[in-house]
Each structure stands twice: as C-alpha cells, then as structure tokens.
Subunit: 356 residues, 2 copies
C-alpha cells in the first residue's frame, strides 16, 4: 500500500524550500519509493485562507498521513494578530500536540565543507555531531493553568511548567535508545537545583538508566549546558531535555555549526508517525528571491525516510548527494564564501537531484 | 558614619577568593574608604555549622549591611541532601529574595589581554561588552504553586512562571537606565509567541519605552537570543530578561569571553543595597589549592563600590589595577597560556594590591 506524505509549505521561504524537497522525493519515487503526496495549508497561509493557523482539513490530512513535511511558519504579516490562538506558530504547536509528536530530534552537525562558517574556532567545532532530543508536547508550552489576569489591582501573567512521570519516561527512552545507536553518551539537562518539576525529571531519567547499561548517563544544569555548548560542544553526544530548555539549547547548538540552513529535524510519536522540518525559520525577508537554502528541508526528507518510512538506504543516498553538492562547491547565499559558487534555491535542489 | 560590608565566603573556592577581595578592600580603606567588614556563613558552610544554608544570624547581618560580598556556594558534599530547602543554593536564593535583590547585573566583557581564551573567533568577540540585566526575585524561581504530587496514580512535578506588571516595570526601568548610561540599545528577551507571562512582559517593556526616548528598544525570542549570542554577540548592548532566561543567557554570554573567572555580578534592590559575587561557581575540585582566579571577586568589589557605596573613583582604580596585572602577563591557571606567568590565587590578589 502506498504511504502518504503530507507537504505543508507554510509561510515565507516555506513554499520554495519544500518545492526543492519534493523534487528529491520525486526522484526517490522514480527509484521505486511508493508514496503519495498531498498538500495542505498551515500557519499564516492557513489563517489567510481559512482564518485558522491549523485548518481542520489540514489536521485531518495530517492524522492519516505517515509523515508530514513542513516548510516554515510565521512572518510580520501576522505578528499583529491580537488573538494568540490565530498566530502562525499555533499551527505548528497544534500539529505537534494533536499528532502527539513528543519526540523531537534535532541534530547539530558540522559539515566539514562548511567548517569556516562557524563563529567558533575550528578546533572547537570540527567534527561536531550532537543530537538533541527535546520533549515536544509537554512542559511549559502546554501546561495549565496559563493566562493573563488581574490580581490585587494589577495584571499578572502566568504559565505552568509541568511534567508527569510517564511523559518523562517516554522521552527518556527515546533518548537512551538514540544514544545506544550513536556514541553511548547521554546528558540530561535540567534545573534540578531550583525547579521541582526538573527534580522529578532527573529522578525518572536516573530510574531508566539501569535498563540501558551501555549508555553512560550524566546530568547537567541548563545554565551550565548553555556554557558547555559554547566552551566545548564536542563533549556531548546525545542531550535530552524538556520542551523549553530544548528550544533554547537546540538553537544554540545549531548555531555552533554556523549553518543553520543545513539542519533538519524530526518530531515523532509512539507509532513512528512524524513531522519533519528544517530547524531554521520562515525568513520572510528573503522569501521569493531564490536565496533560501533548501538543504535543511531536503535533509528533513532523509530523516522522514529513515524514521517514518524505514527507508534507510534512500535516506543515506540523499545525505550523500548533499555531501557531493557541497564538495562541488555549490552554495546558497547563506553559506557562500569566496571561492565557492553561489546558486539559487532551485539550482541547489536540482544539483542534489543530479547528484542522487 | 562607617558603612558596613558583610563578607560571605561560602563554599569551595569561596574562602580563598574572598580573602583576596578583602585585601583589596583593605587597601581602599588605607586610601580613606570608611567601611566596617563583618563575616558570616552561608551555603554548605551555613548548613554544616547551623543546619541551614541561610542561618538567621547571617540574614540579620545582611539586612543591616550596605552591601554583601559573596564568594560561592555549593559542592558535592551537600548534593545528596534530600531536603531541597537545606541545599547550599537555597542560601543564595534566600538572600536574593529576603533582601529583595531583583536587579541582577551581569556584564560579559572580553578583556583584550585574554582574547585568545574565547572559543569563538577573535573577530566575533573582540571588544565584546554586553550587560545582561536579569530579574532575580520573581519568575519561575519563586512562583507558586510548585511541587511534586500524585495525580491520577502517577507523580507530577510542577512550577509556576509568573510575573506581575509591577515586577516587570521595575526591572525594565533598571535596564532602560543602564542602556541610557551605555550604548543606548536595549534588547528585551522573551518567548511571547508561546508564553502568556512573557506576552505581558513584552507589553510592559513596550509601555516604558516612550519614557526613554534615547534608548533604542528591540525584542527577541529566547531561542533566537541564544543563537545570536553565538553568531554575533556584539550586536547587543544591554539585554533584559526574566530570572530563568537570564540564568541561561548570562552564562552563555559569560562563556563567550572564555574567561568566566574574570566576570563579576551585582544584585540590587530599590535602595541600592546589593549583593556582589563572581559569576563562576564554587569549583570544589580546585578548592584550597591556590588555583582559583580571584579577579571576578575583586571586580565584584569594584561593582560594590560603584553601585552600593557610590565610590566610583575607587571602583575605577580597582578595574585599572586588574588591567595592569593582566598587562604584566600574570595569570591564574584558568586563564594561563604559553608566554604568560602563572601565579597562585594569593599572588594574584597581592599583584592587584600592588598595582592599585
Ligand atoms: C515557532 C516556535 C513556537 C517554535 C518553538 O518554540 O517550539 C520554534 O522556535 C521551534 O523551536 O520549533
Ligand atoms: C546556584 C543557582 C541557584 C543560581 C541560579 O540559578 O540563579 C546560579 O546558577 C546563578 O546564576 O546565580
């Protein structure tokens, strides 16, 4: 039976980068991959068409898809929306929650061909290969109660950072298993010296450890983790943390590589159903100019094939093709430097197809 | 009338670094500074002596002091304490809360003499001079309700991230005023696309802006701020943010300089009463060996003189003396490299006194 991929271009550069990723999916189909593609609207595009960042039709399609490929959401056009529930980001958060995509995998890899792009010294980052496992459907992003209300004559804003043992355990397992497939080192990040919710986090992660005797587990406070990522990022293999700390640390880690336009991500539920998207945002300032880098989205297709469709061989072929176009010296504007050849978004996509 | 400074050496390297800072205070007294020094126990030292990380006697002395100079708290010896209320960190958090030290100033400055120490490329960090203004007595660190309890048959951990308009306004004013005395640029960091509490934060900061027409205000999401600190830190002048984001970002910013052993901090209340401490921790692994760098604590004395005692001339003399010992090539182990002369904690303190 043909498997279904839902493509959600979204906003800003989303449509142009997903178009290149679809070219790569098409060449996989020529190679025998049996998938059906559908399209849908999300984010600002969803709001403009249906008044909702996550239109019901999109959610329905997503539920029945084996995997979702998302471009990016958001832009200044919708920043002024008073009703936070209508903002583009809510399309993303809604998909994560509704599809129960609790396991967010965010690799931070330094491509040797792009070593120059990092703001860090080469010896600090060369060979960098970290996997951040971020919990994505709980924590302070979704905790209740939340809101802004009047108390004692002034307004007060509040959110709730909450995790249950079961939520911690399931993301912990994803992380231990990931570490077992990689360098066997797992660092769990919390603020257990101040926050009760992360004391429970640490306790549950510790409780899982004996089940994964090959994995060396350590714990780090989030402030120290932010420092260590800057000081000596290669000390890390897999990092596991909650939704908000993961948001912050994964962006810092991505930026260490200097090439955030290269980094894909996967968000998975317990059935292997997943949403795949580049780590970078919708970059409205460069949208429609052929300047965007489609490689993070193309590499997200590789993750999609690996994690949701179990097509590891095709995933590897995509990753190798990306390596080859970099070896050829082809660069979109964000990663170009003297001595390389600057190409457009579409030229980059075509080059990957050719190198496949 | 003689002003009072309470010295709290604390744990780990705390006693040896505060001893050097006291040498510098003593030379200021020789120069006519009229202060009385007292000592007290805090952190693990407080727990060992009185069973409490913030003994009542210490808090009483702190309340009547014009300023507190703190070394550092914490260490593996107390990590196993089951009762979180007894842990060394609670001494620090208790002092902040009881003295109402809501305004935490954390400079991240790259000393030209130490440019090599950064893990970032020289062109990215040379001349770096950021001031992070962190709210220190509110937010998720102190929010209620908090705890770990059983719900539906499993344990759940929870904390509350909460700010009132008044709390945001007073830290906002500190930050706008600080920016006005520096480069006139203020960046407020929040996660207003997801968290209601930070929507209120952004609203209140915006509301203050017209009162400070010379200061250029911008807003940034915390994940982006973590990236931008790695990518191009010199874009920042003053950053203002809440307690937890400030904890994470100030440590990342400090590490950009590569010399966290050089960075002081101040925590102030509305009356100018303050607590001053190095940004680094208690480093139990090197305690008692003469390896610790006393300069962050000595520079904290400079901040103390400037902000709590209004002795700017003496503060400048200390800062210049520190610059001179660096020029002389003197380095403690943490900042030593080939071609410099490695000195002990005490030798470094003596050198600053000599250069004063
Ligand atoms: C757009 C935003 C809601 C989102 C998040 O905070 O999770 C983004 O920053 C991300 O990391 O995917
Ligand atoms: C020790 C700890 C409680 C403290 C904090 O998180 O505030 C420390 O990290 C700091 O930044 O001063």
């Amino acid at each position: 039976m043909s498997r279904k991929i839902l493509v959600l271009p979204g906003d800003g550069i989303g449509p142009e980068i997903t178009a290149e990723a679809v070219k790569v999916l098409d060449v996989c189909r020529v190679q025998g991959l049996d998938v059906t593609l559908e399209e849908g609207l999300v984010g600002g595009a969803g709001y403009d068409a249906f008044g909702a960042p996550l239109p019901a039709a999109t959610l329905d399609k997503a539920r029945t898809a084996d995997a979702v490929l998302l471009g990016a959401v958001g832009g200044p056009k919708w920043d002024g929306l008073e009703d936070i529930g209508k903002r583009p980001e809510q399309g993303l958060l809604g998909l994560r929650k509704e599809l129960n995509l609790f396991g967010n995998l965010r690799p931070a890899i330094l491509y040797p061909q792009l070593a120059e792009a990092s703001s860090l010294k080469p010896e600090i980052v060369s060979g960098l290969d970290i996997m951040i496992v971020r919990e994505l459907t709980g924590g302070i992003y979704f905790g209740q109660p939340r809101g802004i209300e009047e108390r004692d004559g002034q307004r007060v804003g509040f959110n709730t950072y909450v995790y249950s043992e079961a939520e911690i355990e399931r993301i912990g397992r994803v992380a231990f298993e990931m570490a077992g497939k990689r360098g066997n080192k797992l660092c769990s990040v919390d603020k257990a010296n101040v926050l009760e919710v992360t004391m429970l986090w640490r306790e549950v992660i510790n409780r899982l450890a004996p089940e994964y005797p090959d994995v060396e587990l350590s714990h780090m406070y989030v402030d120290n983790a932010a420092m260590q990522l800057v000081r000596a990022p290669k000390q890390f293999d897999v990092i596991v943390t909650g939704n908000m700390f993961g948001d912050i640390l994964s962006d810092a880690a991505a930026m260490l590589t200097g090439s955030i336009g290269m980094l894909p991500s996967a968000s998975l539920n317990e059935h292997g159903q997943g949403m795949y998207e580049p780590c970078h945002g919708s970059a409205p300032d460069i949208a429609g100019q052929g300047l965007a880098n489609p490689l993070a989205t193309i590499l997200s297709v590789a993750m999609l094939l690996r994690y949701s469709l179990d097509e590891n061989a095709l995933a590897l072929r995509i990753e190798r093709a990306v390596g080859r176009v970099l070896d050829q010296g082809l660069r979109t504007a964000d990663i170009a430097y003297p001595g390389t050849r600057q190409v457009t978004t579409a030229e980059m996509g075509d080059a990957v197809v050719t190198a496949f």
